[in-house]
Subunit: 346 residues, 4 copies
């Protein structure tokens, strides 16, 4: 059994990681670190865990972590991760970091979009971007993985194959993404209260959301060219789920069937990617509580444009599930172990 | 008091029209026509009306309508309207039609997007497109008004001023719109059941939704050029509300303040249009239950693109409220009469 | 026009009062007092009010209130009301207090259930309990009215006629009530966040909720006997609405029709009370956004028990709407003025 | 591996059974029977199953079932089960029936509450009531188990220990239960549409719901006396979850701690029952997607009454999860196999 710790276990991404790990056949949770709930059982913070996981939360102690964990998940706020990780990394413990701190090829891009210096650039340089379907080979050998953002996972997987195949133009790419409220994490802020969120939707951070830079980084790899694009996040009244609608102009006349073939070929070995046949479109409920991604699309011949619709669960494939998928790859386990389920369905 | 009839009174757009009319100071409802509920009180179909409006639904009788109504609202399914309206029109009764049947400048465009011949082209030719903020002068003298679609109202008002001002390019316009479930009307279909809709979102009818043609018609007027654009509707888990996110490339370097000035000037006399200051963005809850439109935007200087966010209530400004606004204009009443309220707020 | 002020205008009950008053034909809002938002427009706090009501919030100044208001609504937290009201009362301004501070016949009962001394017992003694359907005559002459609680309005109206008619026993009365989340007010607390409330329901404050004492006070009047009863509040995932299910043992064999007659007779002049025919039951959506109460019931002959179901909107008839109804009565206006609407319906 | 079939696989209880079985370590699904979807993959009906379970639905063929299934789950509508089961039973296949048809000790009680004759009384006589925590020993040897109703599971487990301990009186027991909408199953009826259910709650079938008789049957066993009680079901706007609030008069002065001890002792070996310490109360989100039951309570000394609050997931412990728990017991597997998870949590 692999010994695992979760730092930031009581945030939403953290507890979702714990939830998945409690059902993982090859893992033993040894440490749950929570600044806010030291000494409390995880099942006192999240009562759904009573009987299933009653581990007590502890404070961060790097030596203790090193002695008891083969790998840790750091589900800390952006900024906090890069303060904590160097000491853990120095002990040789493997790390899957769920924050934005270790996702970038370039320190400069990070610093521009996050507005602060990166204090561990040498670790950043070694970190692998943990989008499993794209970087599996590098993840295998990684000591630290920067687990992708929720919006970014959903967006990159929708556009990467088409850019790699050269069938869409590099300018005028637009991603319009809708997220459930859990994307904001466990927060007491008024705009996330039930009465303010239910029966409401809105765009936010237009043209400035940090995930833009992450998407651009990866799609630039796909296109072998610098991609700059519009990314607009929206808040919609559901708990889980991201739906991204992506627009790109075609370089050539191409049919829905040909687009389907490009996707199907690109993802032919990817268990967790469901490419939908022409005529079908994703729905977030189909991926709620699972590690699956759904991708559908429609060619608009009138405008010589393709519209791609993709859906994930922001907490699962968009955070904790993909983090476990990364762990599975890093530790040489079956990549599907512990995350091979149909989700909530209803 | 103006005598008013509502045809299709028991559908969602119809009953919302009734709801607004019950609070209108200058109106008396004389006939509620409902094919499915002849002989039943409207308050037996919608119990919220008990005591407030207990009128009995009747079958359609054109002579009776002509004798008892100065104006009628036809809230019938697309296709049904154009069968019924000629006889009413012939009697000289004014008409606000909430279907798509009388919204088009061109019979050919209607027939292409609706896939059926138009049986009343001469009435179509006389019908005025009832987007009050754009066509007020023509509406004043109209006998029949084609009340705009919900998506279209939200989309056109967001883009019209910028196209008219010549600050955005004519190609690469994309409208990504999200609608609450009431947009589908009073329906028993499984995909609209609570368990299938809650905690779910999806795109539908990509590149083929009929409202595309209606938006293109009006924006082409604004641009004085043929506008073709992408319009993608989405279903999100709320009852009321449309949020449209529109993308257009700029023709020139322009600041948020300058864009604001264009909107503010264009809508300076429009009570029901709230142009938001830079930094603020619309939320559907701010317009739920009201006739207001909220418009916000953000210039993306990096990409020389503007993103506009607009919000309406699909049943109110997107259907019944605008229909009453049209009636007010047609009948020479105060345009705000009966629809001057802040909506639900909570 | 009656000059009206609202204290605590930016809480949920306060802003609902403002919302209703903006549509009231006989009223002019002269002052909106909000401790937290002094100097901000009400429409900056609640954007749904832009254009409709852009009054600036001010700090409390009793002389200013006295000079500019004929009547004030105090929508302050329990405890705050009784600190502020004596000074206003001393100036001769009429008051509708939405807190629990002025609802009690007995200072002792208040102090027992609220756990603190009452600092204005002489005003309490003069205050009238503002359940309009029961105490209309006293309200007419009142200077200060204690506006009933949301749960209490819904519960008392369901049981009062049966106790007054002597058809139900005085012990073993149970009220099981379910409330939407807006009942908790405008709050940032985690348990009221969207992710914690949606898809969730729970009981709370079993056997200890303060509204118990208010219900007992009024039902004891009805029965002319001391009534003690079980009241259990629940939180359910909707924004507005209270549904109360009340259980009482019958003193006699009685049919549904006879029960109906008791209710129908008791409420025969009450516009805002809808007594449902046997076989029909209330739904909260039928009263959302309106001042109406729905009451249905079923005799369980097997157990010689009657079950009554009643529904209101907690913010409207359960707070702001009834407060305006009280104002109408106190000021000699039409009791229905400004609150005679079918609510949201959809 | 145990070979399992599911009849009625495409209803909500059926598909939840399939969902659980796909993660069960000791089971192989061999047949999915669905009248409505013969020849379609289950993953075409419920896309969440794509890749995880793509079995084709087939028509009912009793010989085929007998040849390929050790046990079947019958998730058919009430009435349909008792038509189909005798033939399967005759073949020696074990059965867990999720309908109401095989839950009763007495054919007469069934016929009275279901209003139709029972066509298989000899099988009914052999059927065991599958409330695992109460009837485990009989379930072990059963060939056919009548899986309990959702409301009944939640209600019986809340009251059984107190009746068995003799601390509550036998009359004046009241159960007020609230259910999510999935309890109505996969239905196209208008009252279950999103727009009619969201922001709405209501009581239904007061004094006449069939589950009343099932609860009375079991609680009469507990009390060793005939128990007749009030049971009121309610529909609330959430997908999953039942919350039952039960009221019973105490026979004796008793503290919260003593009540706790009665529950704790009664359920001391029951993994799936979480008895909450005094001061804590259940929430449906804590049991969503899991087989757990939460039970909390509060003694009302003022009224000498105890109020018990209990929560389950109606589709899981209230249907499919308990069905699998029954299968585990019947087949000699670990009772927790495949159902030992914390549920959705978020």
């Amino acid at each position: 059994m692999i010994k695992v710790g979760v730092l930031g276990a009581t945030g939403y991404a953290g507890i979702e990681t714990v939830r998945i790990l409690t059902g993982h056949p090859d893992v033993k949770i040894t440490r749950l670190v929570s600044h806010s709930f030291v000494g409390k059982k995880i099942s006192d913070v999240y009562p759904a865990f009573r009987n299933v996981c009653d581990i007590e939360c502890c404070a961060l102690d790097v030596d203790d972590i090193a002695a008891n964990c083969d790998i840790v998940f750091t589900a800390l706020p952006h900024g906090a991760s890069k303060e904590v990780i160097p000491a853990i990394y120095a002990k040789g413990v493997k790390i899957v970091d769920l924050s934005g701190d270790f996702r970038y090829d370039s320190k400069e891009v990070y610093e521009k979009w996050y507005g602060e210096p990166h204090c561990a650039p040498e670790i950043l340089a070694k970190s692998v971007y943990g989008l499993c379907e794209i970087h599996r080979d590098k993840i295998k050998d990684a000591t630290i993985v920067g687990n992708p953002g929720c919006y970014t996972t959903c967006s990159i997987l929708a556009l990467y194959p088409l850019l790699a195949a050269g069938v869409v133009k590099h300018d005028n790419i637009i991603i319009d993404a809708k997220s459930g409220v859990s994307g904001a994490g466990r927060t007491e802020k008024l705009p996330y209260s039930f009465c303010e969120c239910t029966e409401n939707s809105k765009a936010y951070k237009i043209a400035t959301h940090r995930h833009t830079s992450e998407i651009e980084q990866e799609l630039s790899h796909a296109a072998n060219d610098e991609i700059l694009l519009s990314f607009t996040p929206h808040l919609i009244p559901q708990k889980r789920g991201i739906l991204a609608t992506s627009y790109a102009n075609l370089t050539t006349d191409i049919t829905d069937e040909e687009i389907y073939d490009i996707f199907a070929k690109f993802y032919k070995d990817e268990y967790f990617v469901r490419v939908l046949k022409p005529g079908m479109l994703p729905e977030t409920k189909n991926v709620a509580g699972s590690n699956f991604v759904e991708i559908g699309f429609k060619v608009d011949h009138r405008l010589k444009r393709v519209v791609i619709s993709s859906a994930i669960d922001n907490l699962f494939k968009g955070a904790a599930g993909q983090a476990v998928q990364n762990m599975n790859i890093m530790m040489g386990l079956d990549e599907k172990a512990g995350i091979d389920n149909p989700g909530f369905n209803l």
